[in-house]
């Protein structure tokens, strides 16, 4: 299976001591490594206001991680751990590689179009509108 990219955000109770959060992060990294994944980035966003009440808290300590893994079991395991730990009040994992792939495709597409356009305007300004579809067809086939 190809590698997948995940975003993992979890929110801790605002009263949680800093070292406990670090401990949670460490255990997550450890278990990620065990399951053949890799934590690419860990960011502590600090205490932020929540948009709505979560288990009677109005604020929470946000931690953001980026994971890369070829196995989906890793998410199951990490979420299980987050669920079990008392300090964590909310978590969310989002798979991002498909979105990013789409983004790259669009960027690539735009670059190609941008590189093609100047040639056309220089060669024949009048039939400009009819040329691009034909050119695309030849490029596609």
């Amino acid at each position: 299976m190809e590698e997948r990219l995940y975003d993992l955000i979890f929110i801790c109770r605002p009263a949680t001591p800093e070292e406990e959060i670090s401990k949670i992060v460490a255990t997550l990294e450890h278990s990620a490594a065990e399951h053949g994944g890799k934590v690419e980035k860990t960011e502590k966003w600090g205490t932020r206001r929540l948009a709505y009440r979560v288990s009677k808290h109005r604020e929470g300590f946000f931690v953001y991680m980026v994971l890369r893994s070829a196995q989906s079991d890793i998410i199951k395991e990490l979420e299980r751990r987050l669920k079990v730990s008392d300090a964590v009040i909310k978590y969310q994992t989002v798979r991002l590689d498909e979105d990013l792939k789409r983004q790259q495709k669009l960027v690539h597409h735009r670059e190609r179009r941008a590189s093609r356009r100047p040639r056309k305007t220089g060669a024949a300004p009048a039939p400009q509108q009819q040329v691009p579809p034909a050119a695309e067809q030849t490029a596609a086939s």
């Binding site: 948009a51 709505y52 969310q92 960027v107």
Partner: protein, 154 residues
């Protein structure tokens, strides 16, 4: 409110005779609306229903003198004169060439959400369909992790 100019926009060119006829008959006849065409009739009717009881009378008064400045988009509609041209809205994401809407950037999503947390419709923001789709997804993700509200309490 701000949604009036947008709702009125599709019917601006087509439904010129619309205001006068239904105005005389009041809200009783739906038939006149329907015969005018799908786009014009539907929008107009809904607007009347929306502002409903109190608003109707006031509007008519405002429209009489030819749309005072404060009336804004409402004025030209009632008066029969259509000199009010709406600027065409452009998708903000297309202009900036956004290929991926990040759900973590709350300040970027905020303008597309009402104060109470509702996602603003395309007709108000001018977002293109593709970007609106991505935007909706991003907003829903942000909601899930308490970055944006589902609906504000209090």
């Amino acid at each position: 409110m701000s949604d009036e100019p947008i709702k009125a926009s599709p019917e601006t060119p087509a439904a010129t005779p619309a205001p006068s006829a239904p105005r005389a008959e009041g809200g009783s006849s739906g038939g006149a609306h329907r015969s005018e065409g799908h786009s014009g009739g539907g929008g107009g009717q809904r607007r009347e229903g929306f502002s409903g009881g109190g608003g109707g009378g006031q509007r008519r008064e405002g429209g009489g003198p030819g749309g005072p400045g404060g009336g804004g988009p409402g004025g030209p509609r009632r008066g029969g004169k259509r000199q009010y041209f709406r600027k065409k809205k452009v998708c903000r994401f297309c202009v900036e060439r956004v290929d991926f809407i990040d759900y973590k950037k709350v300040e970027m999503l905020q303008p597309f959400v009402q104060d109470r947390g509702k996602i603003l419709p395309r007709r108000m923001t001018g977002t293109c369909s593709r970007h609106q789709r991505w935007l909706g997804e991003a907003i829903k993700r942000a909601r899930n992790i308490a970055l944006l509200p589902f609906a504000t309490e209090l």
